[in-house]
Symmetry: C2
Subunit: 430 residues, 2 copies
């Protein structure tokens, strides 16, 4: 089949066979099929969609396009992924929490892009920490410490990496089958036996509706099931930022508080729910009270320190992480209840301060950020502080303040939204 | 506006401003915007369409992307375009017919691609004929002979040429606004004051329905009106081939018969209708009977000879044009009325014999082809000849026969379809 006919078939809404998809992706990797044919096809996929079978096939082809980590000799290997939110420091808490519960956490993470942050950026707020590990060092650390977080290896699912860069440049990121195959191909190549996916829903997330999130989650579950990976899906709210902090260093500090049992209610609840789900998938004990106890009795934080130390992080620096030196406090213009804290605009405000990237490779300022003093449902008097903005010599401050002020609404009444929307039921065998 | 945001806007169904379109096309021409972003945008246009204003803007931007012919000092300049059919030798007849009626015919034509033939290929069946003319030779010939047909100059509307090559490789040819802007940008750059467009409708044409053809025609009229070019639109049937011949040399022979007043009824009728439309647009006399008389009194054929001779064609060769030496006759398997002669499959059969291109640059055999002895509505006895296939040593013959046999249906009754479907009414000023 000629490539233009392959594209035409998708344009006409037809389904590709596994063999056709394989020829296409192989042709792309080998350079026989140029970028411009692939990007036209990507837009046709955004238009016409893909069947579950096509999505499963594409995911497997992408996963097999390079090296695959083999973790079969390890018990209870787990991985976690979030579809991206604002203030989402869940991985920093969940990874050591799971390791302290007996799971082996083998996680590869990305850097932040657009209005959402990335786990690797956050970890680099810790002096000495390195996310660049050889495969042997990666494997040794899972054995010895039980938790390792590295940057995405370019050897795993290289075809996915190529496709992702092309999607980013051609407005074809937003597509359920493309998102599902992108996430799951990396997770299959990463080799963990169980996986929990935190699918964010709301104005601050890629997915705006619960229905879309359910469809994406179900598709990813099916892909995992076909490939022998146990996948659990939690839908969580992303109308307002998670926790009280947005910005790399600020989020590490808040994550450490959570690991010591003193974190904000929403972040703690989400971490416990995700831990419960993925531990149950491995067959390890997963009683909520037990998981919660590891946050209060110091075991999770101990594991965090061992992990950070193993990757070169200086523990003595943890208590004195460096924030941007300048502060601006925003105050309530009137009394009432905070009814909106729009995550998207808060994320953009931190970007504006220099804390995020508009394109890959941008250098970012880890110390800037926003610390909220009120969230949805908080009652405030006129003049009460709503947030502290951490900036560097006023860089981007004016725009950040404008974005922040637009993000906040104070109304006569407001109730906090539910954080955990639902855990998707397991799909039946076969 | 970043290019990815421009693509996203179209993906979301938004309209581009003229300035945005200009930046995009300029960026493409200068090499700042890569092919892969343009092809994703093209697929988004296929998906979401373009408004009339966007289509007009794009056409003008493409038309102005290179040199534009200036024919303002000539009266009654005309051009003609067909959206592509099987057996369509109309231009060979119409160009000298119009010139013999006082119009100045300045036409640039393409080569055949896919199942449809091209005027330049047909003309090259005449020994010595050259379609490669300098601009000064092109202009001199219009002055002196009143008719000139050259290959498409790459200096006219170069951005259109780039876009077309990309569309061909990415399954984005089929899109009303892209087809309209592609045709009209070249016609505007070609500089003729009046234009007649023969929009083919039916299974053998790009456009399958009359509704689509009407929309395309109306859009092209609007584009012409905005740019000061008088455009007339005729919708004609392309269920069966036009005339009785398909194949380059065969079609030249049939066109010459028509120019001598002895052509097939359908071809003659279409040429007279197109001539009447475009002559009326120029303000020249356009009475049907007068036009028809030029075919029977020798004036049209005389102009044809002067034209061919001016472009190097040997007139003494016209009576002995060389056809492929081998013949196969297909006969009616039963008695009845021919009810289908599917143009698409007849065109493909001639391709298979070597008479057409599957990609640009393919060398073709001008002498092969199919001469029909029956068309829709013809009554046949069992064993009557349906067609003669002109082939070269059996090359492609088996497949061509299979295609031919599938193209023909004999039923208990059949009536010839109407050839001219309609002439679109003029759109009101403003």
């Amino acid at each position: 089949m000629r490539t233009s006919e392959f594209i035409l078939a998708k344009r006409n809404g037809e389904a590709h066979t596994r063999e056709e998809l394989e020829d296409f992706i192989q042709g792309y990797l080998s350079g026989d099929i140029p970028d411009y044919q692939v990007s036209a096809w990507l837009m046709a996929v955004c238009w016409r969609g893909m069947s579950d079978q096509e999505t499963i096939d594409l995911t497997n082809i992408l996963a097999c396009s390079g090296h695959m980590l083999d973790l079969h000799d390890l018990p209870h290997t787990v991985d976690k992924h979030s579809t991206g939110g604002v203030g989402d420091k869940t991985s920093l808490v969940l990874a050591p929490l799971l390791a302290s519960s007996g799971a082996k956490v083998a996680k590869m993470s990305g850097r932040g892009l657009g209005h959402t942050g990335g786990t690797i950026d956050k970890l680099e707020s810790i002096p000495g920490f390195s996310a660049i590990l050889s495969e042997s060092a990666f494997l040794r650390q899972i054995h010895e410490i039980g938790v390792v977080v590295s940057g995405q290896s370019t050897e795993l699912a290289p075809a996915e990496g190529l496709l992702y860069a092309l999607r980013n440049a051609t407005a074809t990121v937003q597509s359920l089958p493309l998102i599902a195959s992108s996430i799951m191909s990396k997770k299959l190549a990463g080799g963990a036996g169980s996986l929990v996916l935190d699918v964010k829903v709301g104005s601050g997330a890629f997915l705006k509706t619960r229905e879309e999130a359910r469809r994406l989650g179900t598709t990813m579950m099916r892909i995992g099931r076909e490939a022998g990976q146990e996948v659990r899906i939690v839908l969580s709210n992303m109308e307002e930022p998670l926790g009280y902090t947005v910005g790399n260093t600020l989020e590490v500090i808040e994550a450490m508080q959570c690991l010591k049992g003193a974190g904000p209610r929403d972040l703690t609840e989400l971490c416990i729910t995700l831990a419960e789900e993925v531990l149950s998938a491995t067959g390890l004990p997963h009683e909520r009270g037990e998981i919660e106890k590891r946050l209060t009795d110091g075991r999770a934080y101990d594991t965090f320190e061992r992990w950070i130390s193993a990757q070169g992080g200086k523990l003595e620096a943890l208590e004195t992480l460096e924030l941007a030196p300048d502060r601006a406090v925003r105050r309530a213009p009137k009394a009432g209840f905070v009814s909106e804290v729009e995550a998207l605009q808060i994320g953009q405000a931190v970007n504006t301060l220099g804390g995020g990237r508009s394109k890959k490779g941008d250098v970012i300022d880890l110390g800037v950020g926003i610390e909220l003093h009120a969230k949805i449902g908080t009652e405030v008097e006129r003049g009460d502080p709503l947030a502290t903005i951490y900036h560097r010599s006023g860089k981007g401050l004016e725009d950040a303040i404008a974005l922040f002020d637009r993000a906040i609404t104070i109304a006569e009444s407001a109730t906090p939204p539910p954080l955990i929307l639902e855990s998707l039921p397991q799909i039946a065998d076969g």
